[in-house]
């Protein structure tokens, strides 16, 4: 008997997901931060104030779009040459370059913003949301357009989550809290509650 074929088979039985569904799914039902736990470092680190959270979110969205396009093209090349085992290394290298690009652009056009984002810009490289996006769109075998919409949804979902968190934390600043909840613990608890409420969005696609 022949070994299990290693070549890629088109699984035509799979339901074709519509673009609006992919978008909603990435923003709400499978929110990258609150349901898939991706991008938690900036989510906890930069969510103290709304006016730093928003630019961070926008920068992430931009990097997501760029790396989604790059990852799609790279994957085509890798599959064509049957060297998928280099995928991870190729992806991370591309993401690192994309971040560098955003960093340089920001530095040139908005030095003030560049300073306020500080250390977190290079850290987008190790933001798993970006790499996760690239990997998931590959696993789900999305087409080019689907990947792009998926990236947009993931980015918007990230902005939504980080803004909600920042809003809540700004309110918390003003209230009296027990001393042991100073620090990350209360942010995590808030994250848990947000995550629970986002579960209500599941089933949107059913």
């Amino acid at each position: 008997m022949q070994p299990a074929p290693l070549k890629h088979h088109k699984v035509t039985t799979m339901a074709t997901e519509t673009l609006s569904f992919i978008f909603l799914n990435a923003v709400l039902a499978n929110n990258f931060v609150l349901a898939l736990f991706l991008g938690l470092c900036p989510f906890l680190g930069v969510s103290g104030k709304i006016n730093t959270a928003l630019p961070m979110g926008l920068a992430t969205l931009f990097v997501m779009l760029v790396s989604s396009v790059c990852a799609f093209l790279i994957n085509e090349v890798l599959v064509a040459f049957e060297i998928e085992f280099l995928r991870l290394i190729a992806y991370i290298a591309v993401i690192a370059s994309a971040v560098q690009l955003v960093e340089m652009t920001l530095k040139k056009f908005s030095p003030a913003l560049f300073r306020s984002l500080g250390i977190f810009l290079p850290l987008i490289t190790t933001n798993c949301a970006i790499l996760g996006l690239a990997l998931f769109q590959t696993f789900k075998e999305y087409s080019f357009l689907q990947s792009l919409v998926y990236a947009l949804g993931a980015g918007v979902g990230f902005i939504l989550a980080i803004l909600l968190m920042a809003g809540l934390r700004e309110k918390l600043e003003l209230s009296t809290m027990p001393s042991i909840t100073q620090g990350a613990a209360v942010s995590l608890m808030l994250g848990g509650l947000l995550s629970l409420s986002f579960m209500g969005f599941a089933g949107l696609g059913g």
Partner: protein, 214 residues
């Protein structure tokens, strides 16, 4: 981290990652896998070991090469090295058990993006000799595994009524489903942090005025 330049390996080199600078509970690094794969103890353990291996291997290599990597390209070099070891781990786990691989999903490959590993490479391995890096990386990796287990054990016991797949309470136990859901990850980690903060504050209070306790 401004470490003094002595090359002696002390107990501290090893133990700081375990407790005082625990990557998860104290430094809040590498949170994504911490929350995502800890819905059962076995997944948590596997993830911890995989991370430990990558941390150890990349730390050793970077430490060996630390004097021949030009400053400008160091981050790129580190990332390539880390990605290499993660790919190795990825294929190894696939070869060991497909079930485990499916349970961990994309999070094995996402070890690359674990800020803890790049952070250690930059802050420690690139400035210290190999042996010291190895000892420190082992401590950090074990600390990370320990933290994952802390979460995994609590979430599995409460969320599924079992530990390492062994049923604990019998059929009459009604599992707290929320614990294995994403929200449970946030809540349990938050609870652990609260506990540690409380212990720390109580300790410092007793140290400040021992009279108040008696």
């Amino acid at each position: 981290m401004a470490k003094k330049q002595d090359n002696t390996i002390t107990w501290d080199t090893f133990s700081e990652g375990l407790w005082r600078e625990n990557p998860v509970f104290v430094m809040l690094l590498g949170m994504c896998p911490v929350l995502a794969v800890t819905n059962s103890a076995i997944n948590a353990l596997a993830m911890g070991i995989a991370t430990l291996f990558v941390l150890l291997a990349s730390g050793t290599l970077i430490s060996l090469l630390r004097n021949s990597i030009p400053k400008q390209v160091r981050i790129a070099t580190y990332i390539v090295i880390i990605a290499t070891f993660v790919t190795i781990v990825d294929y190894t786990i696939q070869a060991i058990s497909l079930d485990l691989y499916n349970a961990l999903g994309a999070f094995i490959q996402l070890i690359v993006a674990n800020c803890m590993i790049l952070g250690r490479a930059e802050a420690y391995s690139s400035r210290n000799p190999p042996l010291k890096s190895i000892v420190n990386a082992t401590g950090m990796g074990l600390g990370f595994t320990l933290a994952l287990l802390c979460l995994g054990v609590v979430r599995e016991i409460l969320g599924a009524g079992s530990l390492f797949g062994i049923d604990l309470f019998g059929p009459r136990f009604e599992p707290w489903v929320v614990m294995v859901l994403p929200a449970g990850g946030f809540l349990v980690l938050g609870a652990w942090l609260l506990l540690f903060e409380w212990l720390k504050q109580r300790k410092s209070e007793t140290e400040l005025n021992p009279a108040s306790e008696s």
